[in-house]
């Protein structure tokens, strides 16, 4: 049985370096990202330092997730039974298209053509808003950053803060031009902008019949779903409408409610750099007289089972979508989220997207890293992102074994030379001899222009020339 890969918004058409090149040409974007990522990095570091048992929490979080993956089929069945017993209706979706079909049908059955949405990576991944729109259903994003992106007709560029690429004055301009009911004379004060969003969405919240959410965690033992948020838009959607539809990736499970004692410490501190996010809501099926009376849960595979099949790569499914790895990543900081062309950007995206889609659709992403390791250091569930990147690079190279490649020829040649001390010593001398004339002309030991492929180096950096005498020749001569 082959395990099908995921569909939806997980890959783009351009190689990462080409997409990055475009984003690097946007100085305002760079400035915005620099400011935001450094702000959140420092906030995170401060609240993590407050906990003397942070490492123990990470170890527990990592082991709980590894445990979940090993027991995923039985835990899903347990979750389904508990949620159903509590009054929820559980649906299953093999891929993005099927998940969209299920949700569209459920919305249609309510007779409404308007839904409110809580920010959810799973619904971004399956491109639910587009599917609803094709079915004549308008979906309003209620998270402030999602609203900004939706109004701007743009795409999210960060897991936690999808509008991180905009600064306050750009957001003011988007509101003024596109919000319709934006107050006159709107300033770029964040407080004022938040107030404008409050007024804009309030009528919708108080009158909506159907809401769509994701979930941060799904508790197998009790059938409970958990959503963490800040603004109260989540509570509005989870509490006021008659019907609530939650789209949940199968990897979101936790065995028991008590496991939340680990993740409610790890997640807020890693994501927004807060001791606790302003609001966390949990619900278990239907509660009479309190909240939605029609509760649906859509469990989605969409490439997760294919990811689970890889023993090294499956740890990517442990991700709790905190974004800490994005915020510390020197590559993400320079290029932003759009360059990754998937809803999952940054280091975690570079290992998650290629596994969900299969390496062919995302073969440049595993190389979009210097392997500096900052992501692994901050990951609250200790996903060894550099290890998986290297593993996927191997898969990317292996997938092209039957095609000619200058890189492979060079790598093989170099390994052949390095494999033998005499060949190696001769190569060192040859490299030296080959560059002596160049050094004579330049009268220095660095060079500004080299031919392809070394031109990729000398485009921005001078290159060193071999030393007049290699170390081994010196050693031989003097010892």
């Amino acid at each position: 049985m082959t395990l099908p890969h995921g569909t939806g918004h997980l890959a783009g058409s351009r190689p990462f370096p080409a997409a990055a090149h475009v984003e690097l040409g946007k100085p305002q974007l760079r400035a915005n990202l620099h400011k935001a990522t450094h702000t959140i990095r420092n906030k995170r570091a401060r609240v993590v330092e407050e906990l003397p048992d942070w490492e123990q929490l990470r170890l527990a979080g990592s082991a709980i997730k590894a445990n979940v993956m090993a027991r995923l089929p039985e835990l899903l069945v347990e979750f389904e039974a508990a949620a159903t017993a509590a009054g929820a209706v559980v649906h299953w979706a093999r891929d993005a298209a099927e998940a969209c079909e299920v949700v569209t049908r459920l919305v249609r059955e309510t007779g409404t053509d308007e839904v409110v949405k809580v920010k959810s990576m799973a619904t971004q991944e399956i491109e639910l808003n587009q599917a609803l729109e094709r079915a004549g259903i308008s979906a309003t994003e209620t998270d402030l950053a999602e609203l900004i992106v939706q109004l701007a007709d743009d795409e999210p560029s960060h897991i936690l803060v999808p509008a991180i690429h905009y600064n306050r004055s750009q957001i003011r301009d988007i509101f003024t031009e596109r919000m319709g009911d934006a107050p006159a004379g709107l300033t770029d004060e964040p407080r004022v902008l938040a107030e404008a969003a409050r007024l804009h969405l309030r009528r919708k919240f108080l009158s909506s019949k159907v809401a769509i959410s994701g979930a941060n965690f799904a508790i197998a033992e009790t059938g409970t779903l958990v959503v963490l948020e800040s603004e109260g838009n989540g509570r509005m959607c989870l509490t006021l409408p008659e019907t609530l539809i939650s789209v949940v990736g199968v990897e979101k499970l936790l065995p028991s409610f008590s496991d939340l004692e680990v993740f409610l410490q790890l997640l807020p501190r890693s994501s927004t750099g807060e001791r606790m996010n302003p609001y966390t809501s949990t619900w278990t099926g239907v509660t009479a007289g309190d909240g939605p009376q029609n509760v649906h849960i859509v469990l989605v595979d969409n490439g997760r089972s294919a990811t689970l099949a890889d023993e090294v790569g499956r740890q990517a499914l442990h991700c709790i979508r905190c974004s800490a790895c994005l915020n510390v990543c020197p590559v993400y900081e320079r290029v932003g989220g759009h360059a990754y062309q998937s809803v999952y950007p940054g280091p975690i995206g570079a290992i998650l997207s290629p596994q969900m889609t299969g390496i062919e659709a995302n073969k440049t992403l595993p190389f979009a890293s210097t392997l500096c390791g900052a992501c692994y250091d901050v990951c609250p569930v200790r996903i060894n992102i550099p290890e998986v990147l290297v593993h996927l690079r191997q898969a990317a190279v292996d997938s092209r074994r039957d095609k000619p490649s200058a890189e492979r020829t060079a790598m093989k040649a170099m390994a052949w030379v390095m494999g033998d001390r005499r060949r190696y010593a001769r190569a060192l001398r040859a490299a030296r001899r080959g560059t002596v004339p160049l050094e004579r002309v330049l009268r220095r030991r660095t060079v500004r222009h080299l031919p392809w492929p070394m031109s990729a180096w000398t485009a921005s950096r001078d290159a060193p020339l071999p030393a007049p005498e290699s170390f081994r020749d010196w050693w031989r001569r003097t010892r």
Binding site: M1, L3, N32, A36, T37, K43, D53, L59, A60, N67, M69, L72, L76, V77, H91, W92, R94, D143, L144, I148, V161, I164, N167, R168, P190, E195, R198, I219, E221, T224, S230, E231, G232, R235, T239, L240, V250, F257, S258, L260, E261, L264, Q265, P268, T272, E274, R275, M276, P278, Y279, T280, T282, T284, T287, G289, D290, G291, S305, A306, A309
Partner: protein
């Protein structure tokens, strides 16, 4: 094959015949290291840090503290079983939710809501509501723009594990840490979006 069976089959295939589930090391802090008064000090410190207003009082001062916190509020929403002793000094109109539930418009028209809570967590400055006594359904503490919450000292747990262990998982739970806020603009925290923009916690200490 239906989607459910197919997904479960795929996952079993992915895991192979004998997946091993690792043991979970739980060496993090679970017990409250702090005694009662220190826990309350920490709770107050953390609430204030996240921009909640806080009043500390003795059991016989609750009514006066509530009345002060609600100064200027003419219409107050309260859950059905709110203790009379909390409301006795409040001069405005109290609208009770139940037995007939208040409409969303009525909630939106109120100046504030007064509730108790199930548990408070000192280390994170969190109050947890579970729909139990003096808390009501979730909409009550969501729609009004001002939430006044009475916390008694016996409800205060030190850390997250201790707090969660006091809760019933299957009740609808709402964890509240400060007034609603957003970090969506340049990752700076700004208080006051869709949830109540004012959170006032009245901490009742032993007499």
């Amino acid at each position: 094959m239906n989607a459910r069976e197919e997904i479960l089959n795929r996952l079993r295939t992915a895991l192979g015949p004998a997946p091993t589930a690792p043991r979970v090391p739980r060496e993090y802090r679970v017990d409250d290291a702090l005694d009662g008064p220190a826990r309350i000090d920490l709770l107050v410190d953390r609430l204030v840090d996240y921009k909640a207003e806080v009043t500390r009082c003795r059991p016989d001062e609750v009514a006066a503290s509530v009345a002060t916190a609600l100064a200027g509020v003419t219409r107050l929403v309260a859950p059905a079983e709110t203790p009379e002793s909390w409301l006795s000094a409040y001069p405005g109109k109290v609208v009770t939710d139940g037995p007939q539930p208040l409409s969303v418009a009525e909630l939106d028209g109120a100046g504030a809501v007064l509730t108790g809570c199930a548990v408070a967590i000192a280390e994170t400055g969190t109050i947890v509501l579970d729909g139990g006594p003096a808390q009501g359904r979730r909409a009550l503490t969501l729609v009004p723009d001002h939430h006044v919450c009475v916390v008694t000292s016996d409800q205060v747990a030190g850390g997250v594990p201790a707090g969660l262990r006091r809760l019933t998982p299957t009740r609808p739970l709402t964890f509240i840490s400060g007034p609603s806020a957003t970090s969506d603009i340049e990752l700076n925290r700004v208080e006051g979006v869709h949830g109540p923009r004012r959170l006032h916690v009245i901490v009742v200490e032993p007499g």
